[in-house]
């Protein structure tokens, strides 16, 4: 296979290849790897915290596609995590499916639901879309509570088997961390590919100006729906991962708290960046542990830290790193 230069690359028009330096982005990845590495080596409580952070990183990666790349707002992604989580839980406990087919089934259900929901709601914009999606999240929560014959209501479903394929089962903290880390890296790679693809360009155009994108022949409704479906699929995956890692699911897992936490992670990490979901999820998950020693003042310290980050890094931690790289490359 030969690597012929792209005709439409800057080189084709007599421009030198832009020498982009990625020290800042690399620093964010190294920091994330160090935190995960620490948890892998020392295990214990820290491993549990980081495992939850990685599951959130998966969820936030989906939110980042819809919000960061396409500039749409959804408060209802928890609905798709719930669909994935409950589908996995029910199929692997009641029907004794293996985890992987259960996850795939959850993904299919989430995609069907996202298509049915997205088709009418994505005609809305801004606050209206935010309110509509919030309603979807709340409705899904109520269904999880009320549909007791399937979800067992507040009691929840327990005895969900661990992650695994064939004879391999991720039971230990380290195995779970390793599996989740691989999934997060694959997702980051996928988001990078999407960003650079024709699909990603269409998302960016929709994010920039829906009217200008339409005037260029980009079918705005279709690309918003595609973005919503990708986000829903990733949310469903995170829901399935959660139930297999914890072994238990109840409606509270997918409540409004999950959405608020995910929003905090995506903004602290860096909206629209590749590394943002991971570093955001790790920091937001670990900070409460860092401040635990401050007892009565820990919530205050946590809040002040959030405010300071948003003041000094309004584009998030990965956003600052990207900006530094861009400045060095200029």
């Amino acid at each position: 296979m030969t690597n012929s230069p792209s005709i439409t690359s800057p080189e084709a028009h007599g421009l030198a290849r832009p020498r982009t330096r990625h020290f800042g982005s690399a620093a964010v990845w190294v920091l994330s790897a160090a935190i995960i590495g620490y948890a892998l080596v020392f295990g214990g409580y820290m491993a549990t915290i980081v495992a939850f952070a990685l599951i959130y990183a998966v969820f936030v990666s989906g939110l980042n596609v819809f919000m960061g790349l396409t500039a749409q707002v959804s408060f209802g992604q928890s609905a798709f995590a719930a669909i994935g989580g409950y589908t996995s839980a029910v199929l692997t406990t009641t029907y004794e499916w293996a985890p992987l087919p259960g996850m795939v089934a959850g993904l299919v259900f989430a995609l069907v639901a996202a298509f049915l929901i997205g088709f009418p709601t994505l005609r809305l914009k801004g606050h209206y879309l935010a309110m509509a999606t919030l309603a979807i999240g709340l409705i899904t929560y109520e269904i999880a509570v009320e549909w007791e014959s399937v979800t067992q209501g507040y009691l929840g479903i327990s005895g969900i088997p661990p992650l695994g394929i064939g004879p391999f089962e991720a039971v230990s903290d380290r195995a779970i961390l390793a599996v989740l880390s691989v999934i997060v890296v694959i997702l980051a790679f996928a988001v990078t590919r999407i960003r650079r693809s024709r699909l990603g360009r269409a998302f960016s155009a929709v994010a920039g100006s829906e009217e200008a994108a339409s005037a260029l022949g980009i079918n705005v409704s279709r690309y918003k729906l595609v973005s919503f479906l990708i986000a829903a699929a990733i949310a469903s995956l995170s829901g399935s991962l959660f139930v297999h890692v914890v072994g238990y699911v109840s409606p509270e897992v997918f409540g409004l708290h999950m959405v608020i936490l995910a929003f905090t992670m995506v903004y602290i990490g860096g909206l629209g960046t590749v590394a943002g979901p991971l570093i955001g999820a790790l920091i937001i998950s670990i900070l409460p542990e860092v401040f635990r020693g401050m007892k009565d003042y820990q919530d205050l310290a946590y809040g002040v830290t959030m405010i300071l980050i948003l003041i000094y890094a309004p584009k998030g931690i990965a956003g600052v790193a990207d900006a530094l790289d861009a400045r060095r490359s200029a």
């Binding site: 005709i7 155009a205 100006s209 009217e211 005037a215 260029l216």
Partner: protein, 245 residues
């Protein structure tokens, strides 16, 4: 003042018939008729709030409308702006609609979105844009949002040309630009029109538009109140008469 239709020199590529559009209860366009034929640059003039931008947005199908927009003798769907653009009706929106965080090259490539990955065709269209605006070629890797207003307008027109338009709609391309840059851009539009491309130019700076246009429509309160032959307008005072008539 001449009745619309008597100045036609070529069969219309774009034929707008009885176009009406509303914003809520306000009727922003009232039965507008307009044509643009091969090689014609037609100007749409009028004061603020006359409905000039609304007219272009309605032609594209960006807002709900009634009436008919015929393009190459076929009706355009009423609410399908992407479909209209892919057929060859391309709008350079007011404020340019440049994607600021993207590079100039990425902006231009988005203009050719409909043809996918046909690199040879994209290259051909890029070279055409560079012939029209040589300055754009020097700025390919620059972030578009960091360019001057004039350069951004060149990118906006260049991006529209990347779509290989069959008719080009422009909404106030001179807005906020220095006279020299405005002249440069309008000269390019004149050249495009002379090469056969129908151009519909919405413009507040009527004297500039009338220099290029073969016909001008004067819009007031959503209605075409006059169709002007620029050759018959000898002075600013005469133009003012059209506005105040």
């Amino acid at each position: 003042m001449t009745a619309a239709g008597t100045l036609e020199v070529a069969p219309p590529v774009l034929d707008v018939r009885g176009l009406t559009a509303r914003y809520g209860h306000v009727e922003a366009l009232r039965g507008v008729n307009l044509t643009a034929g091969r090689g014609e640059l037609v100007a749409v003039l009028g004061p603020n709030g006359a409905g000039k931008s609304t007219l272009l947005r309605a032609i594209m199908g960006l807002i709900p409308n009634q009436g008919e927009v015929r393009f190459l003798d076929k009706s355009l769907p009423r609410r399908d702006p992407a479909g209209a653009a892919n057929k060859g009706v391309v709008l350079v929106p007011e404020g340019r609609g440049i994607f600021g965080p993207m590079t100039v090259l990425e902006n231009l490539e988005l203009g050719a979105f409909a043809i996918g990955r046909d690199k040879a065709e994209i290259e051909r269209r890029l070279n055409r844009v560079f012939e029209l605006f040589p300055r754009v070629k020097e700025r390919l890797k620059q972030v578009a949002g960091s360019m001057s207003g004039g350069e951004q307008q060149m990118v906006a027109v260049g991006r529209a040309m990347m779509s290989d338009p069959k008719v080009l709609l422009l909404d106030e391309p001179s807005l906020g630009l220095a006279p020299r840059v405005t002249g440069e851009i309008l000269d390019t539009l004149g050249a495009l029109s002379a090469s056969g491309l129908p151009v519909v130019l919405v413009e507040q700076k009527a004297p500039l538009a009338l220099k290029l246009a073969c016909r001008a429509y004067l819009l007031s309160l959503g209605r075409i109140v006059a169709t002007i032959n620029p050759r018959e307008v000898k002075s600013h005072d005469e133009l003012a008469q059209y506005y105040f008539a």
